[in-house]
Symmetry: C2
Subunit: 403 residues, 2 copies
Amino acid sequence: MKKKVLKFGGTSVGSINRIVHAAKIIKKESELGNKIIVVVSAMAGKTNELISLSKSISNNFNKRELDVLLSTGEQISCALITGALSEIGVKAQSFMNWQIPILTEGENNNARIINMNKTKIDNYLSIGGIAIIPGYQGVSSLGEITTIGRGGSDATAVAVAKIFDTDSCEIYTDVEGVYSTDPNKIPIAKKIDKISYEEMLELSSLGAKVMQSSAVQTAMIYDIPLQVRSTFTDRQGTKIFNKENIDYSKTVTGVAYSKDDAKITLQAVEDKPGIAAEIFEPFGKNQINIDMVIQNVSSDGKTTDITFTIKREDLEKSLEILKKNKKIKFKNLSYKDNVSKISIVGAGMVTTPGVTYRMFRALADEKINILAISTSEIKISVIIHENSTVKAVKKLHNIFNLD
Amino acid sequence: MKKKVLKFGGTSVGSINRIVHAAKIIKKESELGNKIIVVVSAMAGKTNELISLSKSISNNFNKRELDVLLSTGEQISCALITGALSEIGVKAQSFMNWQIPILTEGENNNARIINMNKTKIDNYLSIGGIAIIPGYQGVSSLGEITTIGRGGSDATAVAVAKIFDTDSCEIYTDVEGVYSTDPNKIPIAKKIDKISYEEMLELSSLGAKVMQSSAVQTAMIYDIPLQVRSTFTDRQGTKIFNKENIDYSKTVTGVAYSKDDAKITLQAVEDKPGIAAEIFEPFGKNQINIDMVIQNVSSDGKTTDITFTIKREDLEKSLEILKKNKKIKFKNLSYKDNVSKISIVGAGMVTTPGVTYRMFRALADEKINILAISTSEIKISVIIHENSTVKAVKKLHNIFNLD
């Protein structure tokens, strides 16, 4: 008998039909003799609906009450899925965040799960019941309702897997798993059977929105094997675990890309300690996310060139911020508003020489100009002109044997 | 400084605009120096929406989980109204049923409030805050979420008034108060300024859906003065209190009527002890509500005639039940499917002779045939042909000086 966490995302419980379908999956897993804890998200669209209600009252809605409001989304899904299980003769019960309780720390809207009391759920599992619990929420030590950030139901699932020491943690979602590149745009994309936590993290931070990054991170820290699979097919999905357990016959696991980027270059910036902090501090204050940052060694020893990328919609404001910033000096400011970022990710890259060269050679063969480069141990990213995005992704997908 | 309960019904918080408006009413009351506890219903339509979700899964949805589901409705209103108060600079905080806690007993979907812990709310009031709590729900001694039946937010408001010993309990709703008859159908209807609990109970059980009956009953038992008033105008509304405090210049306070009724008469029923129980037992089992029951003394000493009314939609099933019932014997069964019930209600009736006669005379003058009569201390009801409903109500409204 195995103990399993099954997590159902928003689209997997997005309608009554889908809730009934999810209940059937749970029933099947239960009939195989597994002890099951189910973690559910709010029905697709529900959280946005609640946020929009709050925004029509205030753009700065009281944070404490926002959590009171948003936490109803998962409570509704919990009750519906438990009712659906009950209807098909499966013994199940919902457990609310405060009934368990799921203890969090940190501020409202952005708390972290630090512990859960196992007693009630363990007792219920031991009499053959299935426990249904809401993702994304908990209670603080003061008994206040808290939520743990968008996508937080993944984090709840991983925390449950850790605290209840389950044999597996299965993330049911609306895609069949993690793909070698975006299957919607690049039809040659292949589903990846096995991937390491690190690669998954790089891919998700690069736009593959299959799982929430911090949940993957927690799984990595505690070595909790994950499985991402589709609610709508029977196929295997993608297993995410320790890279020691993965056979790296392929150097590159996937090709990710982001669009709607813009690139800004500051040339001949006065090079002194803390200059990067002074450039980027006002961006944080204006809630503009900086993606890639590249600083070249200066040629004259006194100045340096700094290139960074942002979302295109933030370009105008970013230029304004830079012009207003009296703390920095530079000779020239240039920008491009039509770039995209292409990344190859693979835990096998670090032990395979020549990957970087092969990537650049391949892009050159396609006459694609590289505007900037940034590398990490398991990832190489380049900035190119947006027009060449699909061509570049297809080429890289092909030369690294992902087709 | 007064301590007040302000209760806002579903239509009073039925949209964002209305929630913002309710927040302004609360702010005004607070600025007058009152300590305030607010009880809120789910937004109009919300509870029905949740019930319909549950029904699309099962017509016999798990009762425990139904309460988990339905209780989210008031939680949402609580968070929104608290956020709206916060936005206009009023110190306010929501308190969930389990945070207070509001202790209930009895089964799911039909529990009763038996106590509340005062500590947290009293502390919050004492630092100048306004406490916002959800109506209609509580937790059992086992920590399970319970609801207390449709319209239960009124009961919560009255329970809060009793337990916190408040100076008043104001029920904000979508009508201006209690009327002498239905203002939507009979334009001469007058708003009643003061009414006793007993009259209010008769009127609400007769179809004036201004307040939930069991809440009025609780208020009567503990002598808690109520005030029903409109969220949308500044006017006084109707005060409901002990009849000792009411000056009865008028004998009759109001004229109520119900439509869509049907009448069944069993003639020459074998008269023996327990015969009524045997007739009506299967109706309860089939969830058919019996309204008025009239049993005449038998002429021959061996048989009796029994007349009763039901909702028209239950007529067919009721006839079937009677025909199948082998425990009862009768000579003849007749029925009418197009009757209505007209009632006059007034605590002053008991001390004023001739009210009954005046009512029957007035109906006779209008050539309205009376099919059945039933009286209580403060109410006289007659069954008439449905076509004459409005004519009868207008006539009675007039002769008892309510116009």
